[in-house]
Amino acid sequence: MSIDKDTARRVAHLARIEVAEEALEPLAASLSKILDFMEELNEVDIDGVEPMTSVTPMELKRRVDEVTDGNIQDKILANAPDAREGFFAVPKVVE
């Protein structure tokens, strides 16, 4: 499995990481190498094998429907790069 430059560009965008045009070829090469390494998995006979869904066989615990949290606007916004009037501020989003 080899990743070409266009795929590298698409993956970088999917992951929202800016990659300069000239860095795309080397990126494609390095990603391809890693994917080649994973090709080994194709040797394994996985017929009828269930994918692992929980590491330890436990039941999912469920919590009671009570309000136990919130009202900590100061803590929520404490580390924000840009917070205004109780909101997180981000560059304009066009819908």
Partner: protein
């Protein structure tokens, strides 16, 4: 007070006996940390907080209400969120992040009276095996190859933790282990590192790398210290849906050293091509020592071992790519500056390009790729099926009566900083070859120092336990430790 010989067990007894105070002990470590910048083990030092905590510990000691960890000075891996104390996972993207909360593990430690000396360096987001991906620059091992002053890696990702413990910059440290990040650096620096059964230790408040693999554990000088510290770290946490609601045993009480009749498995698939003879010999000697202590050595097979590493490098990046999506410049940490006319997408892409280092970027992109439309079945789903097979391998040998499995901890001793820089990423990934199986199967594992190589560098052996079998596993580790009588220490050069 000779810090180089001090253990948690010693300090606990001395503090209770009043031989010295927690404040005196803490001050000694604060001073040691102060002079340790050459090792770059600490990313954040908190001496004032340490002394405050020590004073509080002294009150508890005086009142006779002192749990085992009371007054014990610790270093905390930068992956643990610590309230009001900078926590960056050694990443630029979390620039200046000060959590408004405390992780469950550190809360448990502080509730027991332990003292925080500061935050420890690591690979960025715990992705790496040499500490070289840290935004803070690599932590340096206190160990050297004889008189050669080449800077060596303490391993990774918990490299700062390993360096700090082995250089006596703390009595013990917390680490986290996703593919070997506690056991490999422990082996590289001649200390003990425990990766507990998945679900034994709460993940709440620990910056997530790969949620189904991450588990925190202690890094200490001795098996006994690990037993003491692990007990305090463990708890059932209702805030973590994967935390097990089962009792925490007294691990220290299990350390009898009596392993007569225990069956120790030696998996043939771990005898890799090109494995250094020294490692092979160490492994063999380890088995002989356990045999001499009364254990039965059994050859076993874990047939899917060779697929563990590729499966891991599908699953871990996939989970990481999703877990790291939250670092987007909106809520905390770094946000890139924009040029006029640029918008939200540029903000995301530049923030993450500037904020994440190359290895993290690579894994996030690989993770996005293996989950993307058309590739999910071929990579992610297949890897999770292989993971099932890997777990079944272990289940079979345990069902056959094997108590623990003995393997090398790493394929080599510590290497030099920069020595792997030109190698392709896969070569670095091979560091995890003996350790990832344990994470994939959710099992407990411990790395025990077992000898030194021809250059005088420490080597470790790994014991893999049954699920929830930490107590029994640590007892075997204890027997191995006794038999190995590893006493080597790095010579102070920093």
């Amino acid at each position: 007070m000779d810090l180089s010989k001090l253990t948690i067990a010693d300090a606990r007894d001395a503090l209770r006996a009043g031989d010295y105070t927690a404040t005196e002990l803490t001050q000694a470590y604060v001073d040691a940390v102060e002079g340790s910048d050459a090792l770059n083990a600490y990313s954040t030092k908190t001496p004032e907080k340490a002394l405050e905590m020590a004073a509080a510990a002294d009150k508890r000691l005086a009142a006779g209400d002192a749990p085992d960890m009371c007054g014990i000075p610790l270093g905390i891996k930068d992956l643990f969120c610590t309230e009001g104390v900078q926590t960056q996972a050694a990443s630029h993207i979390l620039d200046g992040f000060k959590p408004q909360y405390e992780s469950t593990v550190t809360t448990n430690l502080w509730n027991a009276g332990a003292v925080m000396l500061g935050k420890l360096n690591m690979d960025e987001f715990a992705m790496g095996s040499s500490n070289e991906t840290s935004y803070y620059g690599p932590a340096i091992s206190p160990w050297r190859r004889g008189n050669d002053d080449t800077a060596l890696t303490p391993g990774g990702s918990s490299g700062g933790s390993a360096a700090a413990v082995s250089a006596d910059l703390c009595l013990a440290a917390t680490g986290t282990d996703t593919g070997g990040s506690i056991r490999q650096p422990a082996a590289f620096t001649g200390i003990v590192g425990v990766k507990p059964t998945y679900g034994r230790v709460s993940r709440w408040g620990i910056v997530a790398f790969a949620s189904s693999l991450d588990q925190a554990g202690p890094m200490t000088k001795t098996v006994r210290d690990s037993a003491i510290m692990l007990k305090t770290m463990c708890s059932h946490d209702p805030k973590d849906s994967t935390s097990a609601d089962i009792p925490v045993p007294d691990f220290e009480a299990a350390l009898t050293g009596d392993i007569r009749g225990k069956k120790i498995g030696i998996p043939k698939e771990y005898r890799m091509d090109g494995m250094p003879a020294e490692i092979e010999a160490l492994w063999h000697e380890g088995a002989e020592k356990l045999k001499a202590a009364g254990a039965e050595i059994v050859d076993i097979s874990l047939p899917h071992t060779k697929y563990a590493l590729p499966a891991y490098y599908v699953i871990a990046p996939a989970e990481a790519s999703s877990n790291l999506s939250r670092y987007d410049g909106v809520k905390y940490g770094h946000r890139a500056k924009l040029k006029p006319g640029e918008g939200i997408t540029e903000m995301y892409e530049r923030t993450r390009a500037e904020g994440f280092g190359p290895e993290v970027q690579r894994r996030v992109m690989i993770g996005a790729y293996v989950l993307s439309a058309g590739f999910y079945d071929a990579y992610y789903l297949r890897a999770q099926k292989v993971r099932t097979l890997i777990r079944q391998d272990f289940e079979k040998v345990f069902a056959d009566g094997i108590d623990q499995i003995l393997t090398p901890a790493t394929p080599s001793a510590a290497f030099g900083i920069g020595e792997m820089a030109d190698a392709d990423p896969i070569k670095m990934y091979l560091n995890d070859v003996f350790t990832v199986t344990v994470n994939l199967a959710g099992l407990p594992g411990v790395s025990v120092p077992a000898g030194v190589d021809h250059q005088g560098l420490p080597l470790g052996l790994q014991l893999i336990g049954q699920p929830w079998g930490e107590a029994d596993m640590l007892n075997t580790a204890y027997a191995l430790e006794q038999a190995s009588s590893f006493t080597a220490k790095p010579v102070k050069w920093w």
